[in-house]
Symmetry: C2
């Protein structure tokens, strides 16, 4: 693993590791999309403790989105991540684990809701953006950077972005204050060669401007873990994963598989398996995330998993031929 220079003997890299690789756990943030961010404090505390014990680098606790746009009547605390809520779980977070929140472009009151970093237990603000929102995202990055936070830009639905626009976006991002630029395969649609192509492109812009590249994969085609490995091989240094893959639709790269793969001895598998067994798997019946054939079909067709999520929530769940016919018609 972790080969970046093809000149080196490959075997020399299968059992060593690249110390600069960081893991970001986004179990609660991405998983919250399956329950409107209504997690019991006990679960949030368990995920936090497991991340600390497992040596994870960053934990994303939720969104810091607008209470005007997303009604508090319809969402739990972790859609807003107010300082008091976070501190109720982590206290002063006197641990090496850094805490992150995600703000959606055009859906966050970031100027008022994000405190100066020295008044917050948060360490990083990640901005989620579609390609057409890049100017808004850059304003959010500047705001967070000025307040003292580490920052990332997570460019979503990358499998639908055309090459010409992506180059322009990466040019803009490389000149911004952002620390890490993320590939986000929202539709779980990428194959390894496409992942390589994107990594090489991102790195051309990122390396010359001293930024890191991150990978956020979805499991619609059961390739989230595989594509995360491909991103590592090509030089991504920040990797998103979630416990038991908990996340929207087919879910994410499973944290336990990523930690199993990486050889940095600072990471520990057992606390993650404990949390998965005791707190995450018991949520599966209600939250219903994870790979299945309708997600494979949306991934294959490079579509948002929305149609598969709706189908799986209907009485037709399991009738995969009907779903195939349905999305083939829509094409």
């Amino acid at each position: 693993m972790t080969k970046t220079n093809p000149e080196e003997s490959p075997t020399s890299k299968w059992i060593s590791y690249r110390p600069e690789i960081k893991i970001l756990d986004c179990t609660l943030r991405d998983g919250g999309l399956m329950n409107a961010h209504r997690f019991d404090d006990e679960v949030v505390r368990a995920v936090y403790s497991a991340c600390v014990d497992a040596g994870i680098d960053y934990m994303e606790i939720g969104y810091i989105n607008s209470r005007r746009i997303f009604s508090p009547a319809d969402h739990g605390s972790w859609k807003y991540c107010q300082e008091d809520d976070i501190r109720r779980i982590v206290g002063e977070n006197d641990t090496p684990l850094k805490l992150s929140v995600m703000a959606d472009a055009e859906k966050s009151d970031y100027r008022s809701d994000i405190l100066p970093c020295d008044q917050s237990v948060l360490d990083m603000v990640r901005v989620a953006t579609y390609i057409h929102q890049i100017p808004s995202a850059l304003d959010m990055v500047k705001d967070a950077n000025d307040k003292g936070y580490e920052t990332t830009v997570n460019l979503m639905a990358i499998s639908t972005v055309n090459d010409r626009e992506l180059d322009e976006a990466l040019e803009m991002l490389s000149k911004s204050e952002v620390g890490t630029i993320y590939i986000v395969d929202s539709f779980g649609s990428l194959y390894s060669e496409q992942t390589h192509f994107l990594l090489e492109k991102y790195l051309r812009y990122a390396q010359s401007s001293g930024k890191r590249v991150g990978m956020h994969a979805h499991n619609n085609q059961q390739l989230a873990f595989a594509n995360t490995i491909e991103a590592i091989i090509k030089g991504a240094d920040v990797l998103d994963a979630t416990m038991a893959g908990l996340g929207r639709g087919a879910g994410n790269c499973p944290l336990e598989r990523l930690v199993g793969f990486l050889h940095n001895p600072k990471f520990h598998l057992r606390p993650i398996l404990q949390c998965v067994q005791q707190y995450i798997e018991p949520l599966r019946e209600e939250l219903m995330w994870g790979f299945d054939t309708p997600y494979m079909l949306t991934g294959l067709l490079n579509q948002h998993p929305r149609a598969a999520m709706e189908f799986n929530a209907s009485n037709d769940r399991g009738d995969i031929v009907k779903f195939l016919d349905l999305i083939s018609e829509e094409e």
Copy 2:
């Protein structure tokens, strides 16, 4: 996909296809390891029909193993694949689908049980062998080749074979009558770089002797589909897959995902999804195949999935921390 020459533009290969790529469905053969090859005729007939309708190249119906070694009291028909049983399902098999059986080295009465090809509806004999059984396997290949069959050698547990012995085996195989040499990741333990390494090695021997390379992946780390794609990229031309991934333990590369990925218009997804929905998924509760964390742990440790299969059949199923502690102790 299907890139073999890195000089070419990668995008030119993402939507085209390599017509020489063949798919072998081994749903009944590998899946039979989960029910002692006791499938109802209705299921066998449904898999056969789906393979024909989907444009699959080969279907493996079961093993042709010894009735002395494997008692017929404990196994269904598809452990032995006698001609009358096969013909009860496929008649004269007047279709483009070729039929295959697998014979285990040292566990098959191949001289007597395998008829001359012109007296059989079978087209191919695949020999499954461990590295130390290669001389026996070569005798079986010669027998099948002399009888008129296409042949493969499936070298199992490849992740445990040392490099020096593998070179010797490949040298012997390249000089034999065998048509296709298979990489078999029995433990589901390979990552993409190891898959590339093995493919390059196999191809060095195979190409100079006019043989094909095949890939048979297991899903212990949820990388069966990903590794099959990597094998395609590196030049494997014969790919094993099973419907819904049905196969031993964590199962195999799912046929529906492979057919979705390949762009050859001769392959059709819908008949496979129909068979999966109507005949394969209903077996899941009884046969209990498919990815879960204990398989991930055996894959990670490059161990046979036996311990995970036993654990999943016990009352401890679900206690993944206990299983972690168990196999860590055994190390």
